[in-house]
């Protein structure tokens, strides 16, 4: 086993970014991404989530899925900070292209320009896309 894997012994903490680019509910990607992110929290890594393109729709307030009888998982985003996942980055350009603002989102996020997000993405050790 490599030293990187040996976390009990103060092993390396890596920067992980989970990039979300899909709308919720139409496909399984958003829900699967949440599952993976929550699992990653157990490994005590430096985890962030980025919401880009249709991924920004995942964070919409006011979701009511009674009519479609789909599982409403928007509360899970609110629970993320309980798992020390507090770095939620949203691309400004993606919000604007959809007529949305930060006020439309159900959790506190850091809104970034594409250039800022690009720089943050580039400094990650691991980027996982959904």
């Amino acid at each position: 086993m490599s030293d990187d894997m040996d976390m009990e012994d103060g092993g390396t903490i890596k920067k992980f970014m989970f990039v979300n680019r899909k709308a919720p509910y139409g496909t399984i990607y958003a829900l699967e991404a949440l599952e993976v992110v929550l699992i990653s929290a157990a490994f005590e890594q430096d985890v962030s989530m980025a919401f880009v393109d249709d991924g920004v729709y995942q964070l919409m307030k006011g979701i009511n899925s009674e009519g479609t009888e789909l599982k409403n998982f928007s509360k899970t985003y609110r629970a993320l900070d309980g798992y020390d996942i507090e770095k939620l980055y949203v691309e400004q350009e993606s919000l604007e292209a959809r007529g949305l603002t930060e006020d439309d989102l159900l959790v506190d996020v850091t809104v970034m320009s594409a250039a800022e997000l690009a720089a943050t993405m580039a400094e990650q050790d691991v980027v996982i896309s959904h």
Partner: protein, 99 residues
């Protein structure tokens, strides 16, 4: 003809293709992720606005509610529930599901 579309306008070009190829007087029903096309300020908003001159545009309300978009629908788009969906299919002589 009833044109049924279920893909987000900012991920696929199904909405754009359906609007381009629908004849005057046709009916368009936006369901699942295509309901985003019916919301104010979305990437396809201008195309939907223009299309409304020739086409009747509907969106499935339960899918809008599931996505938190029910109060952001563009003026001129009509909302239907599942019973209304069935009515549209029954009223139109034929239908096409855009993939």
């Amino acid at each position: 003809m009833l044109h049924i579309i279920n893909k987000s306008p900012s991920e696929r070009n199904s909405v754009e293709a359906a609007l381009r190829l629908a004849t005057k007087g046709s009916v368009v029903l936006l369901i699942e992720d295509a309901v985003y096309a019916a919301t104010r300020g979305n990437t396809a908003a201008a195309k939907i606005q223009t299309a409304m001159a020739d086409l009747k545009i509907y969106a499935l309300k339960p899918d809008l509610e599931t996505r938190g978009m029910a109060d952001r629908v563009m003026d001129g788009v009509s909302l239907v529930d599942y019973a209304g969906f069935v009515d549209l299919v029954a009223e139109q002589p034929n239908c096409q599901s855009w993939l």
